[in-house]
Symmetry: C2
């Protein structure tokens, strides 16, 4: 089955300081799972040219798509568009299409140098619409550049997603282990993971009020195979559970 | 002023699928800011040996510390300890100290092969205490390996933090821009950023009910310099505000 991969690059000192919690990467990852794109890596880097250029070039080479969030506003710390142009080795200039979009929201007399920065788009990029505050993101090669403000990023993702090539959807099944400790079913789960190489089987512990509530999650692209693996996993867990409660 | 840097490596397919939202990296970043360690990069990788080993080796070389979360439980997808040993080129074996800790919680007859996996610690590592469920994390070289379950990770961080070398604390000042758009103060902010090279000045837009509520955040290690830059930024914003509302 065909597989399409992606990386997400979150750009911003405020995330690294811990002051702002990144919600964008989780949102994109979930969205991509739904449409059949597999997120393989997420990185957060500072508002630093070298860090951004290196990460963009590494990730766009390694994965089918790279999505970035943050750093495309009007202030001096918004350097993403310039860094992406540098990474691609192309020029960057004020884009008449982007300028026209800004003028839908900003009065001509208010369109100062800082605001015009938001119309700087790398050569050859396609615009990504921003229905909320107009200043567009863009798509260049396999890289999608979006805003950091969650509501704007989400609207941009809705705009660009139909243009992306997607693969077979990754289906998943969740099994609640009803209080069973991981150590009780780990051996059984490992045997099943070896039997079903094309199904990814994981165990996810969660602590609620000091007690573990674990989930086993099976993920795969082949519905029939996933159903078979899930059935066998349920049977294994039921057996462990019966023994465990003896 | 002395500077200590760190990277955070989050390990787990469930984060990349978007099903589980990573809260650990934001928690650690905030904690580190408070104690004087500067997080410079965050990465999320899959439960995949090559991906983990490469990320561990790259990040531990580049930064003063690397903290990892996830992948140290008893199931087959918990491969972090083995990957870290491989990254360091050291052996890994059942550690009697770790085994003794497990036996504080697990009855000897229940200590099966899967659970014993949690006692596998790379050669030369120091243990990191887990007051919640006993299975320890560890510290090897400049790498701290912790659990992925947030409550356990947080307890482990409390245990290991006093052992870490810290730098000058990064102080910050937050200025609410009272509804001013970024484009109105961007030029003034850029001039101040150039004047105060040792203060990092950022503008952070936030959208609430369709309106921007932006903050300017100044960060630096020198209290007097930070106070000076903050005073000048407030004055600049007041001036812009007066003009803006004319």
């Amino acid at each position: 089955m065909n597989r399409v991969t992606a990386a997400i690059l979150v750009i911003g000192d405020e995330i690294l300081s811990g002051r702002t919690k990144d919600a964008n990467s989780g949102y994109i990852a979930e969205y991509f799972t739904r449409i059949g794109i597999e997120t393989r890596e997420i990185r957060v880097v500072a508002d630093d040219e070298t860090a951004i250029v290196e990460a963009v070039n590494f990730l766009r080479e390694k994965y089918d798509y790279l999505l970035t969030t943050g750093g495309i506003g009007p202030t001096h710390d918004d350097i993403t568009a310039d860094c992406v142009a540098k990474a691609f080795g192309v020029g960057i200039a004020e884009d008449p299409r982007a300028l026209a979009l800004l003028l839908e929201r900003i009065k001509p007399e208010d369109l100062n140098a800082a605001r015009r920065r938001m119309a700087r788009i790398p050569d050859g990029a396609e615009l990504v619409a921003n229905p909320i505050s107009k200043a567009p993101g863009f798509l260049i090669g396999n890289v999608v550049v979006m805003a950091g403000v969650p509501a704007i990023m989400q609207a941009m993702l809705d705009d660009v997603a139909p243009k992306l090539v997607t693969g077979a959807k990754i289906l998943s099944e969740v099994i609640e282990t009803q209080g069973l400790p991981e150590g009780a079913y780990a051996a059984g789960l490992e045997a099943l993971a070896k039997e079903f190489r094309d199904v990814s089987i994981g165990s996810y512990p969660k602590l609620v009020d000091g007690r573990f509530h674990n989930q086993v999650i099976l993920r795969g692209r082949d519905e029939a195979l996933l159903a078979l693996a899930t059935g066998k996993t349920r049977a294994m867990l039921a057996e462990v559970s019966a023994r465990h409660r003896l």
